[in-house]
């Protein structure tokens, strides 16, 4: 098993009190698994990704345990985490477009980055250039400034930089969202290619676009308002979702070949609760079509069948 996360809880400190952005997350990743992390904006998916590598100043570690390939990761300790960042856990940040230092040439910037990890850049350079070739970037790019690159080129550049030290775990946060469909496809497929070539062990792909995950992920984890709703193999999640939220979410996606005068899709009425003082129990309760009295208690995230976990009182092993 590559990564295992137990009861991870992370809040944001604000003047009004803690924002409960991530509550009791329990999941695991197999070796080589690409897990898609899906959910609406504000559901805590970026918080989950970030907390595995870098707790920013406002983020408060409350509890939980993270184990990566048998090693405990001290995510609460900012300084100790330096040993793990980039080498073992790496991230392609959201808005990778602006992730690079605009005042430095790209080659120089990568050189600094690698040297800061006490690694000789000259030794790693041939591999670096080989990988640039793989994503169809030429060597000239190293003497260019980030502003000279198009959005898709920057995205590919950041992908190569982030995975250069062959991390155990790579977190890709919304990396295809701002791209054109054809570039999106190429970037998404390149992620899979990186995994296949063992540039990284396992990967968490964070996106709000479930249809991209259906193309590249092995499993999908759906979050809602800071809680995990459902995790399972992608086919199960798309074709046979069990959690009421996943069901509604999947059915609200328009597909090509579906026109409004033939089939009118509907959204999910209501809106997610504020996480400052979230309601007790299941946070989807108010919008849920099957909610009942028991939902005032938090449903456990339990295994329904092989690799398929659901947090809902209405779903049990009998249903499968």
């Amino acid at each position: 098993m590559s990564l295992s996360v137990e009861n991870l809880t992370v809040y944001y400190q604000t003047l009004q009190g803690p924002v409960r952005a991530l509550e009791n997350a329990c999941f695991s990743l197999a070796d080589g698994e690409i897990m898609g992390l899906a959910g609406e904006s504000g559901c805590g998916k970026t918080t989950l990704g970030l907390s595995l590598i870098y707790l920013s100043e406002r983020m408060r570690y409350i509890q939980g345990k993270v184990v990566l390939s048998g090693t405990d990761i001290p995510i609460w300790d900012h300084t100790k985490m330096d040993t793990y960042r980039y080498k073992y856990i790496s991230i392609i940040p959201q808005y990778a477009m602006s992730a690079m230092n605009p005042t430095r040439k790209i080659g120089k910037m990568v050189h600094d980055l690698i040297s800061a990890r006490c690694i000789d850049f000259e030794k790693i350079k041939p591999e670096f250039l080989r990988r640039l070739g793989l994503v169809k970037l030429s060597e000239d790019i190293l003497s260019m400034y980030p502003i000279e690159l198009s959005g898709g080129m920057k995205q590919r550049m950041v992908m190569v930089i982030s995975s250069l030290l062959n991390p155990e775990l790579l977190i890709a946060d919304e990396i295809t969202s701002a791209l054109d469909v054809s570039t999106q496809k190429a970037v998404a497929e390149m992620l899979v290619e990186f995994r296949n070539r063992k540039f990284l062990n396992s990967m968490i792909v964070i996106t709000h676009d479930i249809s991209v995950l259906y193309q590249i992920a092995d499993s999908i984890l759906v979050m809602y308002a800071g809680q995990l709703s459902e995790k399972g193999p992608k086919e199960e999640i798309i074709e046979n979702p069990l959690h009421p939220y996943t069901k509604l979410l999947i059915s609200s996606l328009p597909k090509i070949g579906m026109k409004i005068n033939e089939k009118r899709l509907s959204g999910i009425p209501g809106k997610p609760p504020l996480l400052l003082n979230p309601p007790e129990g299941c946070r989807f309760r108010d919008r849920c079509p099957v909610g009942f009295e028991k939902c005032k208690e938090v449903p456990p995230f339990i295994r329904i069948k092989d690799n398929h976990y659901v947090a809902c009182w209405k779903v049990s092993k009998k249903d499968v």
Binding site: E40, S41, V135, K136, S150, G151, G152, M153, R156, D180, V181, S182, T183, Q184, K185, A186, A188, E189, H208, D209, I210, S211, V212, Y214, Q215, I238, L248, L249, I250, S252, L253, P254, K255, I256, G257, M258, K259, I260, R264, L265, S266, G267, I268, K271
Partner: protein, 324 residues
């Protein structure tokens, strides 16, 4: 309006419009953002304008809204050239034609309460309406877009969600009894569970006789709502026609590539890897898609001469030398 009576009347006619930007330090170079585009928009019709970034789709929307000038060509609204509109007529034009844009948060001044945008409309267009009647009109418009006035009014923009604000802005446009709405990527910022509601709202407004130019890069959203589809590539129309015809029988190599690349939840991508595209801004005498084209018959002719839009079947035009 009955379905038969619909689409009869021409509302907009875009005649060979182009937009050329001067670029470079001294404006010595030219960038053609929109090149010789013509199409019609009829009453009660939803047109999906689909293209990737840099295809000129937003530029066309802005030219219709007269936010930027047209370099050459004409846009006729109910038979009248809109570029000739002067102050009075222009105001009258905006009473009929309005736009809603991608990022609702940057459409509204965050310092003031969001409903201030209604006040500006009152001052400009409805000076004589008494306050009581005006408030009723606002409530009516908000209810029409599915918002509860009590929850929405008297709030700052940051207190509202993206979906709420986007509907709020549509309500603002509706206050003017418009005939035509330019909707530029209005749902790409919204979450899956709310975007479909905004999309359905547009469809309901269409039923009530509103024409919409729906600008998007998302093909499935375009297919869901539109009657007619325009596929743009580098400022030129690659393919145009009735939505079903363009999607079910895509002919231009670019449209085919787009449709193959769209991630869908009922179909896996084929294993054919798409290569990363090269972006050139060199002006081209021939077909603009030449660099990326995968058509087996691609040849010299494509490089030298511009193909023209050719009607392949009824209501279906393609801009390619090799489609007969």
């Amino acid at each position: 309006m009955s379905p038969a009576g619909r689409f009869q009347k021409k509302m907009f006619k875009l005649e060979n419009i182009s937009k050329v930007y001067k670029i470079g330090t001294f404006g010595g170079k030219e960038l053609v953002a929109v090149d010789d585009v013509s199409f019609d928009i009829n009453t009660g019709e939803v047109i999906a304008l689909i293209g990737e970034s840099g295809s000129g789709k937003t530029t066309i929307g802005k030219m219709i809204l007269r936010l930027i000038d047209i370099s050459s060509g004409k846009i006729l609204f109910n038979g009248k050239d809109i570029s000739k509109n002067k102050s009075r007529e222009l105001k009258e034009y905006y009473r009929n034609v309005q736009g809603v844009f991608q990022d609702p948060f940057s459409s509204i001044n965050p310092i003031f309460k969001a409903d201030r945008i209604f006040e500006t409309i009152k001052v400009e267009f409805y000076k004589d309406v008494p306050p009581f009647e005006w408030n009723n009109k606002i409530n009516e418009a908000l209810l029409r877009v599915g918002l509860n006035p009590e929850h929405i009014l008297d709030k700052y923009p940051h207190q509202l969600s993206g979906g709420q604000l986007q509907r709020f802005l549509i309500a603002r446009a509706l206050l003017l009894d418009i005939d035509f709405l330019v909707a530029d990527e209005i749902i790409s910022m919204l979450d899956a569970s709310t975007r479909i509601d905004v999309l359905n709202l547009l469809a309901d407004l269409r039923e009530a006789g509103l024409s919409i130019l729906f600008i998007t890069h998302d093909l499935s959203l375009g297919y869901y709502i539109s009657d007619k589809t325009v596929i743009l590539y580098k400022g030129r129309i690659a393919e145009i026609g009735k939505t079903e015809k363009v999607f079910n029988n895509p002919l231009h190599p670019y449209t085919r590539m787009l449709l193959e690349s769209v991630p869908q939840i009922n179909k896996r991508w084929d294993q054919k890897l798409v290569s990363f595209k090269k972006t050139t801004i060199e002006p081209s005498n021939g077909c603009v898609y030449y660099d990326r084209c995968t058509h087996p018959k691609k040849n010299e002719q494509c490089l030298d001469r511009k193909p023209g839009l050719l009607e392949i079947e009824k209501d279906h035009f393609v801009n390619c030398w090799h489609i007969k």
